[in-house]
């Protein structure tokens, strides 16, 4: 039974997990791709200002590390603030939606509109309106990009409570507040976390897009500013290096949020249960 089960099956060590197929397969594909890229540039003799060799990108990254990394931190700051705002407001909005159907009816369409309007199209407006507060403008743009998945997912979760459990809580004469705290919110947790996983990446994309739109103004400039400047100066290897950093950050955010989700759901939710064959 459960107790003996967990102790009978040996836990996989860190080394085993690092060298598992889940890690090795994509790593192999990545290496093959880099090799092909390198060969391609060598054979065709493309100049570095069109397509730099992977080695050169890495070299540029190290040479400009301090500058690029501090820019990345600026972008990360915007991303994190927007993400946290999206998580909190998204949760709050979906709770409001489920508390009162009228609120959902009247506001949900606008959430959809905000989501489907291209961010690049409204970002300039926001930047102009908030021209004295660049950080605020950038955060607002990133938030617009990020909040919808949290709202949509969490609302779905709050409405997906098991019917028998709903009956059980009725039988216990619970008030709406108790049902929310002890039944609906826990039921919605996996959905909320799924929303966060999508939102994390979108916060970063939103931050980068907003930085692009905001352009070169402001003293503290993010990674998009670096990409922009590098492209003006035709410093293509530096562009690639900055791109590499953004991508790396995106992956880190995704992995981090997945780990958070697994940790919170490991005891009870199928999504976090490792399949054993």
């Amino acid at each position: 039974m459960s107790r003996s089960r967990s102790s009978l099956i040996p836990k996989r060590s860190l080394i085993q997990r690092v060298f598992s197929a889940d890690v090795l397969a994509p790593l192999g594909v990545g290496l093959a791709f880099l090799l092909a890229w390198d060969l391609f540039v060598q054979i065709t003799g493309l100049p570095p200002y069109l397509l730099p060799r992977p080695g050169l990108v890495l070299q540029t990254l190290f040479e400009n590390w301090n500058e690029l990394f501090s820019s990345l931190m600026v972008t990360l700051q915007i991303t994190v603030i927007a993400f946290l705002a999206a998580a909190v407001s998204g949760l709050g909005i979906s709770v409001l939606f489920t508390v009162n159907k009228w609120i959902e009816r009247s506001l949900f369409p606008y959430a959809v509109i905000l989501q489907t309007t291209p961010l690049v199209a409204i970002a300039p407006l926001i930047v102009i309106w908030l021209k004295d507060n660049t950080l605020g403008a950038l955060v607002l743009c990133a938030w617009i990009a990020a909040f919808f998945p949290v709202v949509a997912n969490t609302t779905l979760g709050l409405n997906s409570v098991d019917r028998n459990l709903t009956n059980l809580f009725k039988l216990y004469n619970t008030n709406p507040w108790q049902r929310l705290i002890y039944l609906r919110l826990p039921s919605a947790l996996p959905y909320f976390l799924g929303g966060l996983r999508i939102s994390g990446g979108l916060s970063l994309i939103g931050a980068v897009v907003a930085e692009f739109v905001a352009g070169t103004g402001g003293a503290k400039s993010g990674i998009a500013y670096q990409i922009l400047i590098a492209s003006y100066n035709l410093q293509i290897p530096k562009m690639f290096a900055a791109l590499l950093l953004v991508t790396g950050l995106g992956i880190l955010i995704f992995v981090g949020l997945s780990a958070l989700s697994d940790a919170l759901l490991k005891d009870w939710h199928e999504s976090a249960v490792k399949q054993e064959s």
Partner: protein, 264 residues
């Protein structure tokens, strides 16, 4: 435990009565038509019938989860309505809570503090034999053990009336037999009033003081059968010729309820 013969039904006090109850849904389905049924104090009443005959509907009417379209439902047993517990077929546990927390749930929702509920939870866990699994999560348990948790969660409220909707329908026979025995002993010891839904005739005869057989299209009560055999009942009872006779009578009534003219 001393052996006792269940008292004759006419000497029992009525606890819950349905009189001429009809339940129709907006979809047009008539789940119950003109059903009259009395559940007596201390009785172990089983509802047997084909699926769709309205067994679950009767329980949800009694539980107050829905109300009759026509007819009346009356509670004659003082205080029983507030001391009612429900056991669902799929155990209906909170997947995010441990066994202990699941069992404590009704007390927590009633505003009883953790310290005040501790002993009651421990007692319920002991009664269903789940010691050692307090900290386990539902997905780590077998179907039979989940059902035990569900029963413990019902017991912990010290109910007077227990409604059970096909609680063991999804379990294998060995597990079901064991749980049947345990529930029967608990009922015998605690003097609950039980309404027990099943489609298993063996289970119904083995457990009940009385069985109501239902028919379908429309949902109705075909016949009621008393089973005045002594408790606690044992494997010997299950193997006895009289057990077979009860089973035969029920099977016949069931066939009647499904519109068949030839008895099985």
């Amino acid at each position: 435990m001393s052996s006792t013969v269940p008292p004759v039904r006419s000497t029992l006090k009525p606890a819950i009565s349905l009189s001429n109850v009809t339940k129709a849904f907006s979809t047009g389905t008539v789940a119950l038509q003109d059903v009259s049924l009395t559940i007596h104090e201390g009785e172990f009443l089983s509802l047997v019938g084909p699926s769709g005959c309205g067994k679950s509907t009767i329980l949800s009417l009694i539980a107050g989860l829905s109300s009759p379209t026509q007819g009346d439902l009356t509670w004659q047993m003082p205080d029983a309505r507030r001391n009612l517990a429900f056991v669902f077929q799929d155990s209906a546990l909170l997947p995010w809570a441990t066994v202990q927390e699941n069992i404590r749930l009704p007390l927590k929702l009633a505003g009883i503090s953790r310290s005040a509920s501790e002993d009651r939870v421990a007692e319920a866990i002991e009664l269903v034999g789940l010691q050692g699994f307090e900290k386990s999560f539902p997905r780590q348990l077998s179907g039979g053990m989940k059902m035990r948790v569900s029963i413990a969660r019902a017991i912990v409220t010290q109910p007077k009336v227990l409604l059970m909707d096909e609680p063991f329908g999804a379990l294998d026979e060995i597990t079901r037999n064991k749980l049947n025995e345990d529930v029967m002993n608990l009922w015998h010891q605690k003097r609950w009033t039980i309404a027990f839904v099943t489609h298993n005739i063996y289970e119904a005869v083995y457990l009940s003081t009385r069985v109501a057989v239902m028919g379908v299209n429309p949902g109705r009560i075909v016949t009621e059968l008393d089973i005045p055999e002594p408790y606690p009942r044992s494997e010997t009872f299950r193997q006895s010729p009289i057990f077979g006779q009860y089973r035969y009578q029920l099977a016949e009534a069931l066939a009647l309820g499904m519109g068949a003219t030839v008895p099985l």
